[in-house]
């Protein structure tokens, strides 16, 4: 690691304006993340316009703060009203809500905040050591390796939507086909623009993102808006007991690295990280029967893991320019729009930007623990604000955000179309991340595919010509076979269980 770049990044992130953005981003992210059904991807998508006109470094710092803020926020609503903000906060309901029901809401919020803080710090340290070597490694990638890496990311994200792989593939294919709309950069041919000048530069993926994640999610939440539970929570002192800390500290320290490594993997994210850490802690616990009844370690472990995963997910985004999750895909879209091109060259050409972000993660985690502990009273009040008031505001923010992209109201119609389409996909249980991810990387994927074929005179051997490409190809195949292997083991376990039951009876 280059020490001077690191220090320069530290000074940038410590600039008063950037600290202010971290605090604002963390706070706004926490609020959106707290809203039931809305997660970090929506938080970043809705708040993208706030970054317009900002210095790219400040913008990326702000977006990262929104992202972590939303991760923190997601678990606030899990603990207090048993409604996770998004998938990665589901595990926080298992023991967080029972703790709140037992009158330990304050303790649960404190454990969750401290666990997230420590998990985040562990992951930032991991980031510092892993990011640059990975970026240097990625510098040696040619078009064939890049194409295969994108293919691996997409197939991994589809394969992880177990039980709905066909839908995942369809969402991915839709994203890829939509990415081909516009002028083909290699030949100048207009593709699928239907003579609409607005489409010559392609479909703006930010509109799709805002449409699907903001409008689509709000429309989806309208399905249950009249059944909204009104649960007022009283939060006492926000701190935990010595006994609770004793039970939580090791699970936090174990889950941080697990979450970080899972976060780095393409496709896997906070949801998987928190579930794996929860089940691991339950398996090794001396009191597994207390899990689900309000065990502090049952809350601490997933909270540490999901925050660490959110930092880990930034590694493939920044070092290779490949987002591994829906939220990082949204961030990539926003960064490209701001003129920043994440990838291996970011660490070489703009090291101060990259290291400013890394340092801002430290500061962001400190800011968030302060926000989440000192301002908990205010956050609880916001959580009491009816969704019927908040959702119309989110829809409006989506419209304003869209307008700031192109200053054209034509995009409002596209926004509504994609919002409505997003609702249908959610209702039919389609995973949204493959669509968004494919739309964003689709253009690059095609260009790399064609460049690779050009360099090999049309021979497909180029995709098996280096050790890296062979490994990437093998991993892609393995990720696609993973659901079949998963199914096989599940069936075998079930068969064993039935066998045991029939023998014992």
């Amino acid at each position: 690691m280059d020490g001077s770049s690191f220090m320069e990044g530290l000074f940038i992130s410590l600039e008063p304006m950037n600290i202010l953005w971290i605090i604002i981003g963390g706070f706004l992210g926490t609020i959106v993340g707290m809203l039931p059904g809305l997660g970090p991807a929506t938080a970043v998508a809705v708040l993208i316009p706030v970054t317009f006109g900002m210095e790219p470094v400040s913008a990326i710092i702000l977006m990262a703060a929104i992202y972590y803020g939303a991760m923190y926020g997601g678990s606030r609503s899990s603990i207090l009203i048993n409604t996770p903000g998004d998938g990665s906060a589901i595990a926080a309901t298992f023991d967080g809500y029972p703790m709140a029901k037992k009158g330990q809401a304050g303790e649960a919020l404190a454990i969750s905040a401290v666990a997230s803080f420590i998990g985040g710090l562990i992951a930032v340290v991991g980031f510092i050591f892993l990011a640059e070597p990975l970026a240097n490694f990625a510098l040696e990638f040619g078009p064939a390796e890049y194409f295969l890496l994108m293919l691996l990311t997409l197939s991994a994200i589809v394969a992880l939507s177990i039980g709905k792989m066909v839908k995942g593939f369809l969402a991915m294919m839709l994203g890829l086909t939509l990415s081909t709309v516009g002028i083909d950069t290699q030949t100048g041919v207009y593709r699928f623009t239907m003579d609409i000048p607005h489409l010559s530069e392609g479909i703006d993926f930010l509109i799709v993102i805002i449409g699907v994640y903001a409008i689509g999610e709000v429309l989806y939440n309208l399905l249950t808006i009249d059944q909204e539970k009104k649960e007022k929570k009283k939060v006492g002192k926000v701190w935990f007991t010595k006994e609770q800390w004793k039970r939580s500290k090791w699970p936090i320290l174990r889950s941080g690295p697990i979450g970080f490594l899972i976060g780095v993997l393409p496709g896997a994210g906070g949801s998987i990280a928190s579930m794996i850490s929860y089940t691991t802690e339950k398996q090794i616990s001396k009191k597994p029967e207390e899990f689900g009844e309000g065990a502090p370690e049952g809350l601490a472990a997933p909270e540490s893991a999901n925050n660490a995963a959110s930092v880990g997910a930034m590694i493939p985004l920044l070092t290779m320019g490949i987002p591994g999750s829906g939220t990082t895909a949204v961030m990539l879209g926003a960064l490209i729009m701001l003129g920043l091109r994440p990838g291996p060259l970011l660490f070489e050409q703009q090291p101060e930007t990259a290291w400013a972000l890394v340092n801002s993660m430290f500061i962001g985690n400190i800011a968030l623990i302060i926000i989440n502990i000192l301002l908990v009273g205010l956050l609880v009040k916001i959580l009491d604000t009816p969704a019927k008031v908040l959702y119309p505001i989110i829809v409006l923010l989506a419209f304003i955000g869209t307008y700031t992209l192109s200053y054209s109201t034509i995009d409002f119609f596209l926004l509504l179309i994609f919002g409505f389409f997003g609702l249908f996909l959610k209702v039919m249980d389609f995973p949204l991340a493959p669509l968004v991810l494919a739309l964003i990387v689709g253009g690059e994927m095609e260009q790399n595919f064609r460049k690779a074929l050009l360099s090999s005179d049309g021979s497909l051997d180029i995709f098996f010509s280096s050790g890296v490409s062979i490994v990437l190809f093998a991993l892609t195949v393995a990720s696609l076979l993973y659901p079949l292997i998963f199914k096989f083991f599940k069936r075998r376990n079930q068969a064993k269980k039935t066998d045991r039951i029939s023998k014992s009876s």
Binding site: F169, Q186, L222, I225, F412, M428
Partner: protein
């Protein structure tokens, strides 16, 4: 419910078929391989078509199985809520440039709040509408320098 369940796979089948036909009708490139811009979208359309047909069969198999989300979407005032949100959005798009950001936003947010939150909570609706419209105008137009109509 069955119609909604089938509408999605049929949409995908039609979409991929249209995309496939459009791919083969793309103009040829004057530089390099004339078919270069066609391969990728055509390949994608074929794969999407195959998956769409598999998906259609999957849906046909469980056509009688209840989907609670579709049920929710069609019950109570939900269809009206969704329809109104979209309709108001369309009106917002039409009047945004004509009457300006502030007036159109007050109308849009006010309309949405009154419909979703109910007329009984008129005071909250009015305060939120006016406060949020001015606040967003100030934040975007003045603080962030976004040029709003």
């Amino acid at each position: 419910m069955k119609a909604i369940k089938l509408s999605v796979p049929i949409f995908f089948i039609l979409f991929s078929a249209v995309f496939l036909i459009a791919s083969f009708n793309l103009p040829k490139a004057s530089l390099g391989n004339p078919n270069a811009p066609i391969y990728f979208p055509a390949g994608l359309s074929i794969i999407m078509l195959i998956f769409s047909i598999i998906y259609l069969f999957q849906e046909l198999k469980k056509l009688d199985k209840e989907n609670k989300y579709i049920k929710q979407m069609l019950s109570g005032r939900t269809p009206k809520l969704i329809g109104f949100t979209i309709l108001l959005g369309v009106i917002y798009a039409f009047v945004f440039d004509r009457i300006g950001f502030l007036y159109s936003t007050i109308l849009y947010l006010g309309g949405l709040l009154f419909y979703i939150n109910g007329i009984k909570k008129w005071l909250v609706n009015i305060i939120v509408t006016v406060a949020f419209s001015f606040l967003s105008w100030y934040a975007f137009s003045v603080l962030l320098g976004v040029s709003l109509p």
